[in-house]
Symmetry: C2
């Protein structure tokens, strides 16, 4: 049920998704949705924590086995790809999207998850870039690169996560190795 709702929210955005469509794609009717989730916002919130918790878990698990900062960055991407491959390649969008109402509990929740991912990346970046603002900028750029890769990946089902990881390591590995041996 949460999975279907997440799918629809990713396809149409918060404002564009209708409770009727979510309900019918779940095989139930609208009042049933409102029985389990009190409102559209709370349903979206449930999707956010559903995806966010899984995403964070996958990333933390992947990063735990990485030693150097460079490996940690690549491991973050690998965790992201692993979650996307295992669950759904589009679901990350429920966290990284700008379609929900600002200044709401939902927005706060997504910001919370984004901050946690940012903290992971930024810790690695700070180990390489001493200037905090440099590290912050680099972290945001890295996260944006990940987002963009994921979006691209949604339309490329034939590429596997392993393939993507291998390519990433091949492309950015030599670059980063030059700065942090």
């Amino acid at each position: 049920m949460l999975e279907v709702a997440t799918e629809v929210f990713c396809e149409r955005g918060y404002a564009g998704a209708s409770m009727n469509e979510i309900a019918s794609r779940c095989g139930v009717t609208k009042p049933m949705l409102y029985l389990y989730f009190d409102s559209k916002e709370r349903l979206y919130l449930a999707c956010v924590t559903f995806v966010g918790d899984g995403l964070i878990a996958a990333i933390e698990k992947s990063v735990a086995s990485a030693a150097s900062p460079i490996e940690q960055v690549l491991a973050t991407a690998a965790g992201l790809f692993s979650y996307a491959e295992q669950r759904d390649r589009a679901w990350w969008g429920v966290i990284y999207s700008e379609t929900m109402p600002a200044d709401s509990a939902v927005a706060e929740a997504t910001i919370g998850y984004r901050d946690r991912i940012f903290a992971i990346i930024n810790r690695a970046a700070l180990a390489v870039l001493p200037d905090p603002l440099d590290a912050e900028i680099a972290s945001h750029a890295l996260i944006g690169a990940g987002e963009s890769l994921l979006r691209w990946w949604v339309g490329r089902p034939e590429e596997s996560a392993a393939d993507l990881n291998e390519r990433l390591a091949r492309i950015v590995g030599p670059l980063l190795a030059s700065i942090a041996p």
Copy 2:
């Protein structure tokens, strides 16, 4: 008028923006909007070409004076920042947003502009990465990094475009120099 509409679309997304709000923030009433632009979709389309043309022009102008592939990538970012600083830091979102209806003329138009920017980056990437898929992946990652930086920059008015360019050159310059002397 287009500027106000672009602002509202960026703030609320396509579905979330209402023609009433756009009209009143323009100082006119809704039927006036429909006199000049036939429908909501055509209004959005007008915003897309308005922003897209300016963005492409700024990027092409900036890239024209760049020789090496690395300089071209940095110049693309510089062009983006220059447009954002000169016009509005949030407007790029009208091109890079997922809130408009799929399979519409609007979606096609934004894809057109994104493709043109992609082509600029990808040409530079291909000069460094011989494998086409490698270059494609790198290009998407670079564009995503740019998107993310712009989004971050919106909330950091105190940083200037020049400052950002300088930091970018300092951070990624040494990295890229190691692969393409």
